[in-house]
Subunit: 237 residues, 2 copies
């Protein structure tokens, strides 16, 4: 049976051997939820870029540039980090370049050695689980956290994915055990539980309650988001 | 109101500012549980030493040397890392020098900048909480983990301490929220919940079930263990 591990912060990823494994990067509020929503709404591709400046230069190459730092749209960027911006196929056929505080760095740290990199969100939880169960590879769920710190929403997603895959993977990883238990305890009121969390409070301060609700919607989409070369693309099941 | 934070691994401690704060170092299986038990059983002091060689040289200075690596007594050491070794005042009046895989490194990383360093264990949970509530300082609970990784038993202790101190400290730290919820959910069967955990399994393989039971005993002792200079000593409440 293949193994599943949880890494609770990109500052701990060096403790995991990613060779030959599928890494699922998760930044629920909001990078990976937004990326999945963009792909669902027919953007051609999304290129994650770790740095603000590097991302800005992508504009001259024909990309729509999306940039967020500390929860807000970065200066000079056309888009911030809201999944709602992409609804109604608003950027159909466009190539997006995106940089965020935590999510894009986490993708960067994963792609160096992982066999495959997916982006995870509650929005396509079951689809991602179905894909993982069909491959014959070990899995690492890589939580973006907040500036290196553990965060609740990404960890709960990790617990959700371990929970959905229970019986199909084995795990000898305390992060997986803890987060599965925490998710199963709070899955019927994720929003209420998360309302205590530091990042949800930060987001509420920015008046993006609607983003939070959307990012906590389960199984809205039935495809996976996968890194191919430098680009995230939609892959149908 | 003072603040309480949880740091889930010594690999994340650089993200916390320890200046002016009390750090509670916890390595439930078994370093800090063993240290508390030694102090309860009248050892004079316990000097944590990060390295095996540095600890070995303490023998010639009159210390009893205790050394553990990967759960087993290190070669050439008089004691390993079992709390049961210290029962019945077996080392009364002795000075102990100790090195372990995770706990002593975590103490080392804490003492550089923290205002005070305590060692935490379920064995003196309430006493430690009582002491913390009487000081007017912020608190960081520093989990030793396992070789840098998150582990379940130390994180559950962190949750227990946050739970006991609820209402007396404020917390805006996702680690504190998550571990408090997890502890409160599983506090009536910590051993059952922990039996899934990777480190408990490792310990069971070493036939130290009795150590596990002892380390999960609540409030056996009513004092705190505190670092004074280079030595851990018993401080009565």
């Amino acid at each position: 049976m293949n193994k599943i591990e949880v890494c609770l912060s990109p500052e701990l990823i060096h403790l995991h051997d990613l060779h030959g494994k599928i890494v699922v990067v998760v930044d629920i509020f909001r990078a990976t939820s937004t990326m999945v929503t963009g792909l669902a709404n027919k953007v051609t591709s999304i290129t994650p870029v770790a740095g603000l400046e590097a991302c800005r230069t992508m504009k001259s190459k024909g990309y729509i540039i999306a940039g967020e730092r500390n929860g807000q749209t970065a200066e000079g960027f056309e888009l911030g980090n809201s999944p709602l911006s992409y609804l109604n196929n608003g950027f159909e056929g466009k190539k997006i370049a995106v940089t965020t505080t935590n999510g894009t760095l986490t993708i960067e740290k994963s792609k160096a050695t992982a066999d495959e990199v997916l982006i995870g969100a509650f929005l396509n939880l079951q689809a991602t689980a179905t894909y993982l169960a069909q491959q014959n590879k070990d899995v690492v769920i890589h939580c973006a956290g907040w500036k290196g710190m553990f965060n609740l929403e990404d960890s709960l997603y990790a617990g959700a994915l371990v929970s959905v895959l229970d019986g199909q993977f084995e795990y000898d990883c305390d992060g997986a055990i803890a987060m599965k238990a925490l998710f199963e305890q709070h899955k019927d009121d994720l929003k209420g539980f998360l309302s205590q969390a530091s990042h949800a409070k930060r987001l509420q301060n920015h008046n993006i309650e609607a983003d939070i609700d959307f990012c906590l919607t389960m199984d809205e989409f039935n495809f996976i988001g996968k890194l191919q070369g430098e680009e995230l693309v939609k892959v149908a099941l």
